[in-house]
């Protein structure tokens, strides 16, 4: 401590010390002078001898200052000031450097913050690393499940010794629930959790109290706990919220507490607004405790217990194999869907940053080469190699620090752009994924800035300080440096390699998207508007169906509407009703998989969707509950169950369900259409008249329009209001948007890799141009000589062009195998093409070649126009 203070004092008295040092050395010189004179030298001789004896005064001063300690801060300040001055002197170079670093660091930081939120950020609970998630994993990867019954939780909670606590939390979907607050409906993300939830997680109330597990035998209280964010948003952080009442499933609850900010439950995709105990809603003995897997089960490991031991114990308790996965990062379905694509995106942006670094290193090489004289002078007057090295590195650091700072701003926008790909049905996750400037993100950006500085700064600095002696003072700026040019060519080749990989990735994903979109989906997505329509749930079913039919009639009459129809479920909605079917003339076989998707449709629905009929007729208004049950089947159905037969007139039945055994007669055949997404094959399906089956609480309207579909959306909303003010309309969007939602991953990667691929190309082109232009200036004399001895302009141009094409060829030769390794790695995300797709690779090569020629053209022309007389005179 005392030495620290001491040094601080030194620092404060620095200016005086400088003067003192100069005086001290002057005194020394004087003493020497006196001695010399005493020894019989003349005044002049003595002075020279004294100076010679002292040596390099600047070096002595510098070394002495170094003894003061803490000099590095001083020097850093000096260096930074000097570097800033140098940066201002080359505004073009500095701007380009800072801009590319900003984009590179920004993109990497944005992707890091997303990956961090999805894969690494721990729940804000007590000792999150002790938490484990219960999963069931059969031999088949598709058999992975992390949803369980309440009874599973109860059994583990009672029986487990290796877990200090087990909680159950309701599996949440992205639609809010409805509660009633003083007679008014309110949509809210409410989660049912076991009553030990807050105790096991170690989350305490910020205000009021949370619920706990009651003493055995006593009933718990009907209380609810609010998140701080909801409290702030809906109660303006007013304490009067405590004690407010609301109704859920005909039970009255009181808001008793608020948890600290940041805690929104264990589901990353759906931040919770309010928690209620399961015990209050699903009493002991209720059938809902054993039926339906709608709970996540999480445990907290006892200190010192391994997950393996807990697994063995839980497997014994539940009498079936279960596993525990780390629970510190909570649950997220987006994580499963986006991890791999995001890692690819991370690779893409990392490559872009590398290209930017290679490019900067190259420009720095050129820049330091033209500073040879300055560096030689500084060496001659006593700067050590380390000192100059530090100076050059500081110049790089100033650039990368500026790039890093601006990059944080860019990361905010890039993150927003990336998140715009999150489909609206997952939008609840956005608050958790949004860019936050926390310590980890800041640290990452700082790390990137330092790493880039080292990447692009060290080699040029080492090169520049490597061979400088006083001799270099005599050498002009044109001193030949073969090494430098090999290095800079190597860097250019490296950039071409990475560009080849990036552009190929962009190419295969562009083609994947094109293939997915270009295939025959079984419907026409242009001029098609869809909407999810939900009549008030408290109405009886026939009243609800009546409202739906009324809305359909009104919608059909709207201007610009050609057909308005509806069905119980929507194409690409992610849901399906499956029934096993049978045929009266065939024996029933238990093994055969006869499950088929059923869709209940109104007349005109298939035509509205644009699914063409192959044979027979559409369902008609007369196909109602009293008429003969009919069905329309698709080609896959016909191929699978009726090969070689004419389907029309064939009868079949559902094996289970409310209408099992009832015979349906096939009256029509339609083309296949995609159901789950655009990748999977179309499933076998049959369509029934909506009015011959049980209705649905929500129906999907399909409206074929004559103009742009969004123009009708407003009209449809008004029509719904006119029918009944309480009809809820959701997702009123062109069907194209629904299709795009299934292509989130493909569109994300295509957009990112195309945008960043082109950015990388631009950087590389600028880099190539810079290196070539610099080379022309350096070789002006040689080129002038060639022209003077009769080289035609074309030959000179070709010489420059040939050099850059050779670099391109080298880069491509290495880049293509690299690109194929990358596309192989993502082959599961491709569609309809091989990882070595010739069209994508060809396109990437064509783009690269054109870009190379474009970059080389100007320098080549300039080389051809060099005036030999002037070039030769110059030196």
């Amino acid at each position: 401590m005392s030495t620290l203070l001491n040094k601080l004092r030194w620092l404060a008295r620095r200016r005086r010390k400088e003067v003192e040092l100069r005086d001290e050395l002057a005194f020394h010189l004087e003493q020497e002078l006196e001695e010399g004179k005493a020894a019989g030298l003349t005044e002049n001789e003595a002075r020279l001898a004294a100076r010679r004896d002292l040596g390099n005064l600047a070096v002595v001063e510098e070394d002495t200052r170094a003894a003061w300690g803490w000099m590095w801060i001083e020097r850093l300040g000096q260096d930074v000031r000097y570097a800033a001055r140098m940066a201002r002197r080359k505004p073009g170079f500095s701007m380009a450097a800072i801009l590319t670093l900003m984009l590179g660091i920004g993109a990497n930081t944005a992707v890091f913050s997303l990956l961090d939120a999805l894969l690494m950020r721990r729940l804000p609970v007590d000792r999150p690393v002790e938490l484990v998630r219960l999963v069931e994993q059969g031999p088949d990867p598709a058999a992975y499940r992390d949803e369980f019954t309440i009874a599973t939780h109860d059994a583990l909670q009672r029986g487990s010794r290796s877990l200090s606590g087990v909680i159950a939390t309701e599996r949440l979907f992205t639609r809010p629930k409805e509660i009633e607050v003083s007679g008014e409906k309110r949509s809210i993300f409410l989660q049912l959790v076991s009553d030990n939830y807050f105790d096991v997680l170690g989350v305490h109330a910020l205000r009021g109290r949370v619920f706990h597990q009651p003493e055995s035998g006593t009933p718990g209280e009907p209380i609810a706990v609010l998140s701080e964010e909801y409290w702030r948003r809906h109660y303006a952080a007013d304490l009067s919220a405590l004690g407010a009442r609301f109704r859920l499933r005909n039970r009255e609850f009181t808001i008793a507490g608020i948890v600290p900010p940041g805690f929104r439950g264990v589901e990353i995709d759906v931040p919770v607004d309010i928690w209620v105990s399961i015990e209050q809603v699903v009493p002991p003995g209720s059938i809902d405790r054993t039926r339906g897997r709608w709970m996540r089960v999480m445990g907290r490991l006892q200190p010192g217990v391994t997950p393996a031991r807990a697994e063995a114990e839980s497997t014994a308790i539940l009498r079936r194999p279960v596993k525990f996965e780390p629970g510190a990062i909570g649950y997220s379905s987006l994580r499963r869907r986006l991890s791999q694509p995001l890692l690819l995106v991370a690779l893409v942006v990392a490559l872009v940053l590398l290209i930017a670094c290679a490019n900067l290193a190259n420009l720095m090489l050129a820049a330091t080469a033209s500073r040879e004289r300055e560096l030689a002078v500084r060496t001659a007057i006593g700067a050590s190699r380390g000192r100059i090295l530090r100076q050059l590195l500081t110049e790089s650091l100033v650039l990368s620090a500026a790039g890093g700072l601006l990059g944080l701003g860019a990361a905010y926008w890039i993150s927003a752009a990336l998140l715009s790909f999150v489909p609206p049905d997952q939008a609840t996750a956005l608050p958790n994924l949004r860019f936050q400037l926390d310590a980890r993100v800041l640290g990452f950006a700082a790390l990137l800035a330092c790493a880039t500085c080292l990447l692009f700064g060290v080699v040029p600095a080492l090169r520049a300080t490597g061979r400088y002696g006083a001799a270099d003072l005599r050498v002009g700026a044109g001193g030949g440096r073969r090494h430098r040019s090999w290095l800079s060519r190597g860097l250019l080749v490296g950039q071409v390699v990475m560009c080849t990989a990036l552009l190929t990735v962009a190419g295969v994903f562009l083609r994947t998207l094109e293939n997915l979109r270009g295939q025959d989906t079984g419907y026409r997505e242009d001029r098609l508007l869809v909407a999810d329509v939900e009549p008030p749930r408290e109405y009886p079913e026939d009243r609800r169906d009546q409202l739906i039919e009324e809305l359909r009639t009104r919608a059909a009459a709207l201007p610009g509407v050609e057909i308005a129809a509806f069905s119980n479920l929507g194409q690409l909605s992610g849901h399906a009703l499956e029934y096993r079917i049978g045929f009266p003339d065939r024996p029933r076989s238990e093994d055969a998989d006869t499950a088929v998707i059923e869709q209940r449709i109104s007349p005109g629905f298939l035509s509205a969707m644009g699914t063409p009929f192959i044979a027979g007729r559409d369902v008609a208004a007369t196909d109602d509950a009293r008429a003969t049950p009919v069905a329309i089947v698709n080609e896959s159905f016909a191929r699978r169950f009726l090969p070689g037969r004419a389907p029309i007139g064939v009868r079949f039945f559902q094996e289970r369900g409310s209408r099992s055994g009832e015979l349906m007669e096939i009256v029509g055949v339609v083309k296949d259409s995609k159901w789950v997404n655009l990748r999977d094959d179309s499933p076998a399906m049959y369509y029934r008249p909506y009015r011959q089956q049980a209705g649905s609480p929500v129906v999907r309207f399909a409206i074929r329009t004559s103009g742009a579909p969004d123009l009708v959306a407003g009209e449809l909303l008004r029509a719904a209001q006119a029918v009944d003010r309480r009809i809820a309309l959701r997702d009123v969007v062109p069907f194209r948007d629904i299709v795009n939602r299934t292509l989130v991953v493909e569109r994300l990667i295509t957009h990112v890799s195309t945008a960043f691929g082109l950015l990388a190309l631009l950087i590389a082109v600028v880099g190539l141009y810079g290196v070539l232009a610099h080379g022309i200036v350096r070789r002006g004399r040689e080129i002038g000589l060639r022209i003077a001895v009769g080289a035609p302009p074309g030959a000179v141009e070709w010489m420059v062009l040939r050099e850059s094409l050779a670099l391109l060829a080298c880069g491509v030769a290495i880049g293509l195998p690299v690109a194929i390794v990358v596309t192989r790695f993502v082959s599961s995300m491709l569609f309809g093409l091989s990882p070595q797709d010739p069209a994508s690779i060809g396109a990437a090569l064509a783009v690269l070649t054109v870009a190379t020629i474009a970059a080389a053209y100007l320098p080549a022309r300039r080389a051809a126009r060099i005036d030999p007389i002037r070039a030769l005179r110059e030196e």
């Binding site: 003192e20 040092l21 004087e30 001898a49 070394d63 200052r65 003894a67």
Partner: protein
């Protein structure tokens, strides 16, 4: 031109600090005089380079082993005089003990070779 003694010895790394501390035992002195004194005491075998003298003085000062003040020299000029501090004195003792045992060890090893039958 400085007369260089024919058989000069290079200073061993790190020994200059010890020499300075020792020299200051005889009382405060300025840099030039310290160098001369070392030179004279070593019968001109040791030559102190100015380039290393002043950094060493300032380093010792930063460590608190010596202290400096401006005094008038015997010729009436302002000069920076260094004197040994209490801590410097302790450091000198420690360093001298270390040096003695080092020198003894060196001597033992080097002379032992002579006793070996050849």
């Amino acid at each position: 031109m400085k007369r260089r003694p024919p058989s000069r010895v290079e200073l061993l790394q790190g020994t200059l600090d010890l020499l300075i501390l020792r020299t200051l035992v005889f009382g405060p002195n300025h840099g030039h005089a310290i160098a001369r004194r070392i030179q004279r005491t070593s019968e001109d075998l040791l030559q102190v380079e100015t380039g290393s003298l002043y950094p060493a003085l300032h380093r010792l000062e930063a460590q608190g082993w010596i202290a400096a003040s401006w005094e008038l020299s015997d010729r009436g000029k302002r000069a920076r005089y260094y004197r040994l501090t209490a801590r410097g004195r302790r450091q000198l003792e420690a360093a001298r003990t270390k040096w003695d045992s080092f020198a003894r060890a060196m001597g033992l090893v080097l002379r032992a070779a002579d006793l070996e039958p050849s």
